[in-house]
Symmetry: C3
Subunit: 315 residues, 3 copies
C-alpha cells in the first residue's frame, strides 16, 4: 500500500485510546507504521483545528500507516475503518485481523464513548439530577455517521450502519437495512436487507426488505457473498452464494450454498439438478421456489431489473 | 379538497426551508395555494407561540392549501405529510408526486436538520470539544414523532416510523415494525413488520414480525397492497397481493402476485390452480405452503383471528 | 421468594410515578410488600446518593417485595423488570400479570419519561427555540440500557432490547436482533433475530439474522418457545416449537407447531410424518425444507454447531 498519514482526535481514558476521529488523511513520506501524539504547539497550527477548543480528554494524534499488518492497536483499527468508509479501500482489501480483540466493548453515549462501569455511574447521576444521558450502543464498533457522512447517500436510521461500511454514491439504506464494517455497496443501490461483513453489492442492485446475505463470522458459512450489477434479492429472501449480474432471487426464497437447484430451459424442461454453490457468481439467473412442485428452480432471467431512479438520483 | 390554512415553524438555511413543524391547522377562506412568512408582529399574537422564544434560524409561515397539485416546495411537502399523520387524509388520498425531488437529503441531528457538509463540520467541532452532537438520520423524510405524537399509539422505536405515516388509535408498532410515509393503519393493529408506502391495514389486523408488504417504489411490483380487517400476516411472511378480511398468511410464506395457488375445498380436495393475483382482496382465505407437497395452498379460513386486547386497549 | 429490599429513584408527575431506576437491591427483613417514599434526611445518608443533586421531579423510594403477586403499581412493575435484567430471576419466574394495564404509554425523551401531551408541548417549544428535544420511544417499556448495562454483553442498537430482558454474559445482540421483557439468553449467544416475550435461549445458541421465535402475546400461538444449547436457528427462519440441544433449523425455514415434518433416517429413508409440535424440545435435530420435493424434513443432526468464539469471548 502507499503510505498514509492521518491526523485524528482521540478520546482518552487516562492512557487508553477509546476512539479516534480522523479529520485529515493524506500521503505519507514514512515507510513504517507509527503513532505519535502531537503537542499543543504542533496541532494548534492545523487549519482544521484552528479556533477549536480541545477538551481535556482529547489528544491529537498522527498515525502513519505504511504496512498493512494485523491490527494491534485502537488508532490503527479506527484508521482502517475510516479508510474503508472514506472509500480509499474496498471491503476485503485491508487486513482487519484481530480487530475483535483490539476493540473493547464500550458504551457509546450522549457524552461520547466510555467504559461500561462509567456509563452505569452516569446513569445513576442522570437519573438523580434529571439530566440527559443516553446510551445508544454497547458495542465494539460505533455507527458510521458518528464519524463520516458519505456524500449522496441516505441512511434512514444511522444506528444500522457501522463505521467501516463502504457506501457508494446513490446508496439508500432503509430502516430495515444494515451494513456491517468491511462491507458495502458500489452505488447506486437500494439496501433494505442486511449486508454482512465482507459482502459487496455492485451498482444497480437491490437488497430487498429483510433480505439476508449470509456472513462468514457466525452461523458456520464459509462462502464470501457478493452481488453483481442490476440484481434483485427479493424481500425476506437470502443468499448463501454469490450472484452474478442481472439475477433475481424471488421474495421469500433462501438460497443456501447447499440448496439443490433444478435448472430449467426456456420451455421449462428440466435440464439437471445441482448445488446452488455450483451456480455461485453466474449471471442472468432467476431463482424461485416453484409454488406447485416446491422445487427450487433456476432459469434464465429474461426480465431486466432496474432501480427506481427517483429514489437514488437525488440522494 | 376543502381549503386548509396551516401555521408552521420553518427551519431556515438562509432563504432555504429545511423543514416545517405545523402547530395549527384550520379551514382556510383562500381558494388558491399560498405560502407567506409572518412578521414578528403577526405571529407574536398567536396563542400557541406566546411566551416562546423564536430562534434566529426559524420563521413562522402561513400556508394555504386549496388545490391538491404535484408538490413543488418544501412547506407543501411537509404540510401534506402532516395532514396524513394528523389523519385528516388517508394514505393515497393526497397528491405526493415529485416529493422525492423536492425534499433534499438532510442530516437530522441533535441540533436539528442541516445540510450534510454542515453536519460533517459539526462532527469535527464536537469531537474536538467533547460536546454532544448526534446524527440520527440522513434522509429526505424525518421520523413522525419529531413532529406529531398520535394519541393511543405505541411506537417502540421512533426511528422506524416516518412523518407521513397514518397510525390509527390502538396501533402498536414494535421494534422490527416500520411504517413509511403515505401508508398506515386504521387501528387497532399490531405492526411488527414493514408497511410499505401506499399500503394500508384495516382494523384488527396483525402484521407479524419481519413480515413484508410489497411496495411499488422499488423492486418492480406494481400492485398496491392493502390488508382487510382481522387478518394475520404471519411472522417472516410477505404479500405481493391485497388480502381481504379475516385472512391468514402462514408464518414464513411469501405470496407474490405471480405465485400459483392451489385451491382446496373443506375436504382438502384440489379445486384448481390460479395466480395469487386473482385472489387479491378476497376475504376468509388461509394461505400456507403444504409442508409435505411443497405446494402453496389456498383454502377457506375457518379460524377467526383477533388481536390480543391487552396489547392495544390501553395504548 | 426471599424478601427483597430495593432503593430507587422515581420520576414523578405530581403524585404519579412514571418510572423507577433501582440503584440498590438487597435482602429485606420485611415479610410483606410495601412502597415508602424516603425523606431527604433518610436518603441523603445513602452512599450511592451522597453528593448527588436530586431533581425536583424525583423521589427516592424504598420497595419491599416479599410476595410475588399480580402487578398493581408502577414501582413493582419496574422492580420486577429490574430483577430479571439483573439476572436475579430468569424469564417466566416472576408473576408479571397485569403489567400492560399498570404501565402507561409514555414518551421516553431526551428530557426523561413524560405524558404524551406534555411531549407534544415540548416539541412545539423546541421547534420554536431550536433546542434539542428528542422522543426516542412511545411505549410502556423503556430500553434496558436506560437503567442497566449488563456486563460482558454487546447491544449494537440499544433501542432493541427492553428493560426486563435477561442477557447472559457473552451475549451479542446485533442490529436486527430484539429481546423483549421477560425473555433472554443464558449466554454466550448470538442474537440477530427476535426473542419474543417468555422465550429463552440456552448457552451456545445462535438466533440468525431476522429469525423469529413465535411469541404468545400476539398471533394466536400458545407454545412457549425455548432453544436448547448449541443450536442454530438460521437467518430468516422461525420456530413455533421449542428446540432441544444441538439442533439446526435451516435458513429460511419457518417451522410452526402445525408443520408436518417427514422424518428421515441416516440413509434418507422416510420413517414417518408427524406434527412439528411432537418434536418440540427434541435434541440433535436438523430441520430443512427439501429443495427438490418441497417437504419439510427432520433428521439427525450430524454436524456440530458452535459459536464463533472471537465474537463473544471479549465482550
Amino acid at each position: 500500500m502507499k503510505p498514509i498519514k492521518a491526523l485524528g482526535i482521540a478520546t482518552m481514558l487516562n492512557e487508553k485510546v477509546l476512539d479516534v476521529f480522523y479529520f485529515q488523511i493524506s500521503e505519507s513520506d514514512q515507510n513504517k507504521n507509527s503513532i505519535t501524539k502531537l503537542d499543543e504547539d504542533a496541532y494548534s497550527k492545523l487549519a482544521d483545528l484552528k479556533d477549536l477548543k480541545i477538551a481535556e480528554n482529547k489528544e491529537i494524534i498522527e498515525v502513519n500507516l505504511a504496512e498493512d499488518k494485523k491490527i494491534e492497536d485502537v488508532p490503527t483499527a479506527f484508521l482502517k475503518l475510516h479508510l474503508i468508509s472514506l472509500k480509499q479501500f474496498k471491503p476485503n482489501e485491508l487486513n482487519l485481523d484481530n480487530i475483535f480483540n483490539v476493540l473493547e466493548t464500550l458504551a457509546w453515549t450522549s457524552k461520547g464513548p466510555m467504559m461500561l462501569n462509567d456509563a452505569q455511574k452516569e446513569l445513576l447521576v442522570s437519573k438523580a439530577n434529571g439530566s440527559n444521558f443516553k446510551i445508544n450502543s454497547v458495542d465494539k464498533f460505533p455507527p458510521l455517521t458518528d464519524y463520516i457522512i458519505p456524500e449522496k447517500v441516505r441512511i434512514a436510521d444511522t444506528a444500522r450502519v457501522r463505521l467501516g461500511a463502504y457506501l457508494g454514491e446513490g446508496t439508500t439504506v432503509m430502516h430495515a437495512g444494515f451494513v456491517n464494517f468491511n462491507a458495502g455497496t458500489e452505488g447506486p443501490n437500494m439496501i433494505e436487507g442486511r449486508v454482512s461483513s465482507k459482502v459487496f453489492l455492485s451498482k444497480g442492485s437491490d437488497l430487498g426488505g429483510g433480505a439476508s446475505t449470509m456472513g462468514t463470522l457466525s452461523g458456520g458459512n464459509d462462502q464470501v457473498v457478493s452481488i453483481g450489477e442490476n440484481s434483485l434479492v427479493g424481500a425476506n429472501s437470502g443468499v448463501g452464494i454469490s450472484l452474478g449480474a442481472n439475477c433475481i432471487v424471488e421474495a421469500g426464497l433462501y438460497l443456501t450454498a447447499g440448496s439443490k437447484v433444478t435448472l430449467l430451459d426456456d420451455e421449462n424442461n428440466e435440464l439437471k439438478t445441482l448445488k446452488a454453490l455450483e451456480l455461485s457468481g453466474v449471471s442472468n439467473m432467476l431463482f424461485l421456489r416453484d409454488s406447485v412442485s416446491g422445487k427450487i428452480i433456476g432459469k434464465a432471467n429474461n426480465t431486466n431489473f432496474s432501480l427506481n431512479e427517483i429514489l437514488h438520483v437525488n440522494n
